[in-house]
């Protein structure tokens, strides 16, 4: 976090840190990513293991595995996405409010994995924009935590406040 300390006496005035608004917003967002676990298959078990007490994912801010898309920030697609499930995954993704990210966990979510068959979607990036791909079959929980840290890096570099057109010019708000 880029901070500048202006000369004042912190013992008298308390701990105040000056920084850019963008950086502060990034800091808030990246340290409290609430995942929406789309645990479909075996990777879902490693996702649960990442949330259990040994590889605690809540250390990284993902305290609650919100199964409600309206209250989550990142969708972790863990497991094989079949063509039958694809529309449901897309619909849930569209229900998530901005800003949202997607982690494709495992080989099946990244590219169809070893299931090269008539019923498997070859990678969830055919229907969703993916931010981080995690390889492994299944990836170790440590790999998922590293993916979360990479996502945190990505969020900290995204411009949140600056250089963005107002919402009404981007066609998001009907005025």
């Amino acid at each position: 976090m880029n901070t500048t300390e202006i000369g004042y006496n912190s013992k008298i005035e308390g701990n105040v840190v000056h920084t850019r608004l963008d950086t502060a917003v990034s800091w808030f967002r990246k340290n409290s990513i609430w995942p929406m676990p789309m645990g479909l298959a075996c990777c879902g078990i490693e996702l649960m293991a990442a949330g259990a007490s040994r590889y605690d994912i809540s250390r990284f801010g993902s305290e609650v595995m919100r199964f409600s898309p309206r209250q989550s920030d990142v969708m972790i697609v863990a497991g094989t996405v079949t063509y039958k499930m694809a529309m449901a995954v897309r619909r849930i993704y569209e229900q998530m409010p901005e800003p949202k990210w997607v982690i494709a966990m495992g080989a099946c979510a990244s590219s169809g994995g070893m299931y090269r068959s008539y019923a498997t979607l070859q990678g969830v990036d055919r229907i969703l924009p993916v931010d981080v791909y995690v390889s492994g079959c299944p990836p170790r929980p440590e790999a998922l935590l590293e993916a979360l840290m990479k996502l945190q890096d990505k969020i900290s570099k995204e411009p949140h406040i600056t250089d963005k057109k107002p919402a009404r010019d981007r066609g998001l708000v009907l005025s």
């Binding site: 789309m38 645990g39 479909l40 298959a41 075996c42 879902g44 078990i45 490693e46 649960m48 293991a49 259990a52 007490s53 040994r54 199964f67 497991g79 094989t80 079949t82 039958k84 499930m85 449901a88 995954v89 849930i92 070893m114 299931y115 090269r116 068959s117 008539y118 019923a119 498997t120 079959c137 299944p138 170790r140």
Partner: protein
């Protein structure tokens, strides 16, 4: 002068009569509720279309297939050894048990099941029982979490991490092990592994007792599970249930005792079975099965013989690499096994093993060669789920979670 207004207040009898008249229009309307594929309490991707009359379910239609990955078609395009990773991912809570069941089915087709070395059989039994403990721990943890007891889930996951440590030392992966091969195992036990296993069995016994203390005499748990989801004896057999679901309904049948495979006939263990067939019985059976598995593991550790772990036949098991690079015969065996697979005879075979979820069966129809012509996987969860449309009507909405948790199914197996 102040205005006086007359307000008429009818007495309560008239008011309630008026209210009932309005209610009559609303009665008889049933609500359709979709418990969709992505839901925290359905264990995996299962969709339930429910028709509700208030809180009571009148119709339930489970919809599966959201994880159908085409395993059986893939099996027609893979040699027998190449298909083993796909068997891991059937019941992904107990992958070692699936590997063993598949290897035994193919070995039955090849006719070499009698030639397996003793050490291989004992190690396979150890793998099956470890997988059974692991699957039941997760099943009970998820069941308790859905019913409301969140602590049990964290305790059981802690024990599963210890199992993962053991399995990682043995096979290289935490789960999705791909450990067995046709004709033996991929590698022998590492040094000191049986000592670690002995330590683990003591720790897991303590953990099972802790979970027992938290749940078995817990008033809330008993209220939520006793009398809920009763499956009668005839229904259990007619719907083809297997495993703890069958034994809950007062049927003492376990494939390990009725048709012993590997070395189960030389081991001493009991089969728990229930009386009523409700969710509470199935929970108790799974707890007791874990204790029996610990008993089997302790016996296997003491009885484990030394010796080879693979059949000594170059046409079935890959020969040693040193021989391959120096001797012609082994080179040919290696080449044939890798490119064409084991040469299975023409015929068909069915083998069912007692998996944690029930009877996992493989029906292999072979026309010769290294690739099966048709492989059908008889998945226990597929059959266990078929009873839902019959059993759910009449229960309340909140019982669904208890019933799904007690049936303990895995969608990876159900949809294949």
């Amino acid at each position: 002068m102040a205005e006086v207004r007359n307000i008429e207040i009818s007495d309560s009898a008239v008011r309630s009569a008026e209210a009932i008249d309005e209610l009559q229009d609303l009665q008889g309307e049933k609500m359709t509720l979709n418990m969709g594929p992505s839901h925290p309490a359905t264990h995996g991707v299962l969709r339930l279309s429910l028709e509700l009359d208030g809180e009571i379910i009148t119709k339930a239609d489970p919809e599966i297939g959201y994880l159908h990955r085409g395993d059986e078609k893939i099996a027609e395009n893979m040699t027998y050894n190449q298909f083993i990773p796909y068997t891991d991912r059937l019941d992904y809570l107990a992958p070692l048990a699936n590997n063993v069941a598949y290897a035994l089915a193919v070995e039955k087709l090849l006719g070499v099941e009698g030639e397996l070395p003793e050490r291989c059989k004992y190690i396979r039994v150890i793998c099956c029982e470890l997988a059974r403990i692991s699957a039941h721990l997760l099943g009970l943890g998820a069941f308790a979490m859905d019913v409301g007891a969140l602590t049990v889930f964290l305790h059981t996951f802690n024990e599963r991490e210890k199992i993962y440590n053991l399995i990682e030392a043995l096979t290289g992966a935490r789960f999705t092990t791909t450990y067995t091969r046709i004709g033996g195992l991929s590698r022998d036990l590492p040094e000191g592994w049986t000592g670690e296993l002995g330590k683990f069995t003591k720790e897991v016994s303590v953990a099972i007792e802790e979970a027992d203390k938290l749940l078995t005499r817990n008033k809330i748990f008993i209220d939520r599970t006793k009398g809920v989801g009763v499956i009668s004896r005839d229904e259990a057999i007619d719907f083809g249930l297997t495993g703890p679901n069958l034994r809950g309904s007062n049927i003492e049948y376990d494939l390990r005792k009725a048709h012993p495979y590997l070395v189960y006939d030389q081991l001493d263990f009991d089969i728990p079975y229930g009386e009523v067939g409700d969710c509470y019985d199935r929970y108790l059976i799974r707890m007791e099965e874990m204790r029996q598995s610990v008993r089997i593991l302790d016996q296997c550790i003491t009885k484990l013989p030394n010796g080879p772990v693979n059949i000594d036949d170059g046409k079935i098991v890959l020969p040693k690499k040193q021989k391959v690079l120096s001797s012609m015969e082994e080179l040919i065996h290696q080449f044939m096994l890798v490119t064409q697979g084991q040469n299975a005879p023409v015929g068909e075979v069915y083998f069912g093993a007692e998996n944690p979820k029930g009877e996992l069966g493989f029906y292999i129809f072979s026309k010769g060669g290294g690739v099966p012509y048709r492989m059908k996987i008889r998945a226990p969860s597929f059959v266990n789920l078929s009873i839902l449309s019959h059993m759910l009507p009449g229960h309340m909405m909140s019982d669904i979670v208890a019933i799904l948790g007690s049936l303990d199914f895995v969608m990876g197996e159900c949809d294949r």
